[in-house]
């Protein structure tokens, strides 16, 4: 757990006769089983996603089956130096766990060993920057969302200084990573909330678009992983300084009022969304990935895609208002006698002010789907760039 420079006085005096690359380092740098976070074919999912790189994993990674988001608040008195020490430990733990190796001090090391595309993604809320005296370095465009009339936000699902987003295809491995990392950060933070979600996993661009609990395909218009378009939409550019290679996450807990949704017949449901449920094709025709024609009308002159349907309101205006949707479903069973299901809506973009807010404003003003969807949680996090194997998350900021 150190670098060669710190080897020893004795070694320094004599010259280093042999600096070994550790077992862990070997696995990270040289081992043949380590996969990169890139496009893969559906029939050959790679079991490991490289933790290191220019960008953090867990964003461009095709969505895994399980997610756990853990928000924490910094403890009183934690300063930039302490935050840096914490991120040092988080980085080390995460890198090991993502290699399917136990973390140092791992108390259930057996639970770390199953390769399941585990990713650990770290983010900073607005309170992170203010508590650490780093508001000057807060990325441009990063801010809390304004209140919306549709919001019914609950404190228990909102805000947070530090986010750990943990995704993987094996729920036990995800739970273990979450538990271990929670212990690593607890000296520095207090837990604020935990949200869990699930999805049909994707293994590459050819995987079918996952569906939400209303049955709709969700994420059709996403930029394609690995493309220039994706990079432009999601990753902050060089003008962002230390934040270059990072992204901004808007995470909203959207409750679905399933019981009233169920009262609609299928066609009414399709009119609310603007797509067919079965194929995800826009109601203007074609296939799932064909561009919706918002001007198309039926024989009586009515728009095929209602003006206030979800996709009509969410459609990009061509002024940079696009983002990556990487949402998970949640299902907490029955709460207070009512079905408690919904969506952990997760939007990633290089600049949330420029790209996200225009869309959210339009949807909050008018969206037929608002009748059956209620935002009950909201949080924003700046996801810093990734790090090299000899680096740590947050470098450049702390």
């Amino acid at each position: 757990m150190t670098e060669s420079r710190s080897g020893s006085a004795r070694v320094g005096r004599r010259g280093l006769l042999g600096v070994g690359i550790g077992l862990g380092g070997l696995a990270a740098g040289i081992g043949g089983t380590v996969a990169v976070d890139r496009v893969r074919t559906p029939d050959a999912p790679a079991a490991l996603v490289d933790f290191h790189g220019r960008h953090q994993a867990g964003v461009e990674t095709p969505i895994q089956a399980h997610a756990r988001y853990l928000a924490h608040d910094l403890r009183e008195g934690v300063d930039a130096d302490a935050a840096r020490r914490m991120l040092r430990l988080v980085t080390d733990d995460a890198a090991r766990l993502c290699r399917a190796e136990p973390a140092i001090t791992d108390q259930e090391p057996q639970l770390a060993l199953t390769p399941c595309r585990l990713t650990v993604t770290v983010g900073f809320g607005p309170g992170w920057f203010s508590a650490l005296g780093l508001t000057q370095k807060q990325p441009i465009g990063f801010q809390d969302l304004p209140p919306y009339e549709i919001d019914r936000l609950e404190e228990r699902w909102s805000g947070g200084d530090l986010l750990l987003q943990i995704c993987g295809d094996d729920p036990l491995v995800v739970a273990h990573a979450a538990r271990h990392l929670s212990k690593t950060v607890r000296r520095f933070t207090t837990p604020r909330w935990v949200q869990q979600g699930f999805s049909t996993p994707m293994f590459g661009p050819d995987s079918p678009t996952p569906r939400n609990l209303m049955g709709q395909v969700d994420g059709t218009v996403n930029p394609s992983p690995g493309s220039d378009d994706f990079a432009e939409v999601v990753w902050a550019g060089s003008e962002a300084g230390w934040f270059a290679g990072g992204t901004m996450l808007v995470l909203r807990r959207i409750a679905m009022t399933m019981d009233t949704w169920d009262e609609l017949d299928p066609h009414a449901q399709e009119l609310a969304i603007g797509r067919t449920i079965a194929t995800g094709a826009p109601l203007s025709g074609g296939g799932e990935h064909d561009e919706p024609d918002l001007t198309a009308t039926d024989s009586s002159g009515l728009p095929l895609i209602p003006q206030f349907s979800h996709i009509a309101r969410a459609a990009s205006t061509g002024r940079g208002d696009r983002f990556l949707r990487r949402s998970y479903n949640y299902d907490e069973g029955i709460t207070d006698g009512v079905v408690d299901q919904g969506l952990l809506f997760a939007a990633y973009q290089a600049d949330l002010t420029r790209q996200y807010l225009p869309v959210q404003t339009r949807l909050a003003e008018q969206d037929l789907l608002n009748e059956w969807t209620v935002p009950i949680g909201s949080a924003v996090f700046a996801i810093p760039p990734g790090c090299a194997p000899d680096g740590q998350l947050g470098e450049g900021l702390l």
Binding site: A9, G20, K183
Partner: protein, 156 residues
């Protein structure tokens, strides 16, 4: 007097192993020390350091002592069953067998630090030097970690 930079370094990820050559000649004993870590504790208290020690040579390596500027006294210890309870006792040496590996871990062999000179804060580093029977010394840097276990070391 040589000093080593103890500022926490960024490069803890690749250098999972501090591989330090103990001998001054190419055929001297070689010990690799991987994942060294030490329990976070306040100044004045005791702590313990853990690591995996691998002997890549054909000869046993005897560790007969240790020291650190982070503590007044540093001893080699093991946990042993004393009736129904585990208790700690000092050992004269730790033998890393030829071609073998010894794990220093909670509940087993460990390096005891007694009388910490400063708070050991998670994410910081301390330097520890092992003394071998042939007089060679090996220094390594251990990262401070919160460890809910490793409690037994502090009861005696």
């Amino acid at each position: 007097m040589n000093t080593t930079v103890l500022r926490p370094v960024l490069a803890i990820l690749v250098a999972v192993v501090v591989a330090v050559t103990a001998g001054c000649s190419s055929n001297g004993p070689t010990l690799t020390i991987s994942d060294p870590h030490v329990k976070a504790m306040p100044a004045g208290e005791m702590s313990a350091a853990f690591a995996t020690l691998a002997n890549t040579t054909g000869d046993d390596i005897d560790i007969i002592g240790a020291r650190s500027e982070a503590a007044e006294t540093v001893e080699l210890h093991e946990m042993v069953m004393d009736g129904p309870a585990m208790t700690m006792s000092a050992v004269e040496k730790i033998v890393v067998p030829a071609g073998g590996t010894i794990v220093l871990e909670p509940g087993g062999l460990h390096i005891m630090l007694i009388g910490l000179s400063a708070d050991l804060e998670p994410g910081d580093d301390i330097e520890i030097t092992l003394v071998l029977s042939d007089g060679e010394e090996i220094s390594f840097t251990a990262v401070v970690r919160d460890m809910p276990n490793a409690q037994e070391s502090y009861h005696s």
